[in-house]
């Protein structure tokens, strides 16, 4: 199996999509230069600047441009460099892209992908570190994808570009250069399908993005120290959510912990918890545990950011609480 990184997998999926379909084009700030993390490196050289379009720092307008191009039959892949700046694009995304199909009675479609990245851990401070996915999951009409592994990033990006709806594709900057063995040929991953990355019969851990890897590490520690076998599920897609996969697991384990890096209060974990308790209340042997960041902006100072970020210890502790 060849080794790759998430950023190389994304770059490869973009190039493959552009080779396969001339309607696919990329736009965003510094994309022709490859962007700060090299997600679009080499694309301008292969496909030309007519299809790899550098834009000024005008998030509202370039999101509108992507919508208009998508409504006109093209397949734009828009990059918003940091999810923190999606605030500037939200009017177009929420009032425009998300509602066009509905409000036009099905006449308009917006087959666009908005790629962006979030997450803390690099001392980026509160305006370059956020996890804002739960805002986007609250908007009917958007699909929200948040992979944790290179193989899923590539497979889901392929599906997102093919999807006739606006898809917000949320990457995590700390996972970009994580090494991973992937199959020779990466196949599309269906949007709305969870993946079980570790099987276990004692507790279910549903984790998002970076916390998936922390959940897998926590599961190993729980097995070694407590004899608890945890099942780890990565939903990969938040909207639509593969509730069946989670409920099926909870019906076997009787316990659930939901973990994400976003602020716990109002985070997407709350939605998963609410849906699971409604569907599987009788199967639960303990209150559902939640892991997320405290209700505070991300601090700069290294020891403070480290203390702020949820991780392996928090997941282990949350699982142990479900056994009290």
């Amino acid at each position: 199996m060849p080794e790759t990184t998430t950023i190389k997998a994304i770059n490869g999926a973009l190039a493959d999509a552009m080779r396969a379909d001339e309607r696919v084009f990329v736009l965003g700030e510094d994309v022709a230069e490859g962007g700060p993390y090299t997600a679009t490196a080499g694309l301008a050289e292969e496909f030309g600047v007519a299809r790899v379009i550098d834009t000024p720092i005008s998030e509202a307008a370039i999101t509108g441009v992507a919508i208009g191009a998508a409504q006109s039959g093209l397949r734009p892949v828009l990059e918003i460099m940091f999810i923190d700046f999606i605030t500037l694009a939200l009017d177009q995304l929420v009032n425009g892209a998300a509602k066009a199909h509905f409000m036009s009675g099905g006449q308009l479609t917006v087959p666009m992908v908005l790629r962006t990245q979030g997450g803390a851990g690099q001392r980026g401070a509160a305006q370059h570190s956020q996890s804002l996915e739960s805002w986007l999951t609250h908007v009917p009409g958007l699909k929200v994808v948040m992979p944790s592994r290179a193989v899923d990033a590539a497979g889901l990006l392929t599906s997102a570009i093919d999807d006739p709806n606006p898809v917000v594709f949320i990457e995590n900057k700390t996972l970009y250069f994580r090494r991973e063995d992937v199959p020779e040929r990466i196949t599309p991953v269906r949007i709305g399908e969870a993946v079980t990355l570790r099987t276990g019969g004692d507790v279910t851990i549903v984790a998002l993005s970076r916390l998936v890897h922390d959940a897998l590490a926590a599961a190993e520690r729980l097995a070694a120290e407590d004899g608890i076998e945890a099942e780890v599920i990565d939903p990969r897609t938040l909207v639509p959510l593969d509730l069946d996969a989670i409920v099926e697991s909870v019906e076997r384990t009787g316990r659930l912990v939901v973990a994400h890096e976003a602020v716990e209060h109002g985070g997407f974990g709350a939605e998963i918890v609410a849906q699971v308790q409604a569907a599987a209340f009788d199967f639960l042997d303990a209150p559902i545990g939640r892991v997320g960041a405290p209700f505070a902006p991300v601090p700069l100072s290294a020891p403070l950011e480290d203390a702020y970020l949820p991780g392996v210890d928090d997941i282990v502790a949350a699982v142990r609480r479900t056994f009290r």
């Binding site: 084009f25 000024p56 509202a60 307008a61 191009a69 009032n95 009675g105 099905g106």
Partner: protein, 323 residues
């Protein structure tokens, strides 16, 4: 240079203006009768701009608009009955009653959408022009907006991009001097929209928007250039909104024009006087033109009133497109 208005075009222009005028007045009545629902922004007094622009376009030219969009949709070819049914939230409406007055869309006729967010469609229209460039065809995109949109960030971002990329987009500003309830002078020191965009090096012109042939000529010239891939362009049409910002607004923020002054400025009456003077319209023709438009509007009312409300299942069925 575009060819000047010929007789057939002039008659079609007049007929379209009457259809918009009478549609808007009827929509206002139906709003007061609670048959038309939601926020309704009428364009009575601004018909010349919609008609003189849209009648020069093809179905594959895209038009985007703002919240005051009925006239633009009608002039672009949207059937009156389906526009009115949409305002009434009926299944036979353009958007099956899911959008309403501020969200009209008629893809078949290239009316790609109105929006309730002031200025929100300006960058979307640029995306349409970008698509035309990438497809390599000669279609042109037009976006209508009011002077109130010009103070918004997305207007300025879009003009910057449009001029940077030189895309075939024609920006048509209907400067009626009011942003909702407030006169332009209270929101900006720049009186003319053409002055706002001057530093971007965009070709633009300011015309009397109540003078249909003037709008026709100004827009037609830019359209011919845009067909060859040139752009962007901006046409600022100075006009006057005869009604309130929306139907039922208190309207106390401005003084009504004297009836006599409006007779002078009314784009339809003025165009008719011109037609009679120039000989392309018979002295006694105007009542018949008006009556024909009135008949079309009444037929639209019958269509819309007979259309059922959409099924409740539509709410969930329309959220996502299916491949």
């Amino acid at each position: 240079m575009a060819p000047p208005l010929d007789r057939d075009q002039a008659l079609r222009l007049l007929a379209t203006m009457w259809r918009i005028r009478l549609f808007e007045e009827r929509a206002g009545q139906l709003k007061r009768a609670d048959e038309v629902v939601g926020l309704v922004h009428l364009s009575v007094g601004q018909e010349a701009v919609a008609a003189a622009v849209c009648l020069q376009l093809r179905d594959d030219d895209a038009v985007y608009s703002g919240h005051r969009a009925h006239g633009h949709a009608i002039a672009k070819g949207a059937p009156l009955g389906r526009v009115l049914a949409e305002l009434m939230g009926r299944d036979g409406g353009l958007c099956r009653g899911l959008g309403g007055s501020m969200h009209l869309v008629d893809v078949e006729h290239g009316f790609m959408g109105a929006t309730g967010v002031v200025g929100g469609n300006i960058p979307v229209a640029l995306g349409s022009a970008l698509a035309a460039r990438l497809r390599g065809d000669d279609s042109v995109t037009v976006v209508f907006f009011g002077d109130g949109a010009v103070q918004a960030g997305h207007f300025n971002e879009t003009v910057n991009l449009a001029t940077l990329w030189r895309l075939p987009l024609i920006l048509v500003c209907e400067n009626n001097g009011f942003a909702e309830f407030t006169p332009r002078s209270a929101h900006t020191n720049v009186e003319r929209v053409s002055d706002v965009v001057a530093p971007y090096d965009i070709e633009c012109i300011t015309v009397d928007g109540n003078d249909a042939p003037a709008v026709w000529d100004a827009f037609g010239g830019y359209l011919a250039a845009a067909r060859t891939g040139e752009g962007p362009f901006l046409v600022e049409c100075l006009t006057h909104r005869l009604r309130g910002h929306y139907e039922g607004d208190p309207g106390q923020y401005r003084e009504a024009l004297a009836a006599a002054e409006w007779q002078e400025r009314d784009p339809i009456l003025r165009f008719q006087r011109q037609g009679i003077a120039e000989g392309w319209l018979a002295d006694d023709a105007p009542p018949a033109v008006e009556a024909e438009a009135a008949d079309a509007v009444e037929e639209a009312v019958r269509f819309a009133q007979a259309s059922p409300f959409p099924p409740v299942e539509l709410i969930e069925a329309m959220v996502y497109a299916h491949a």
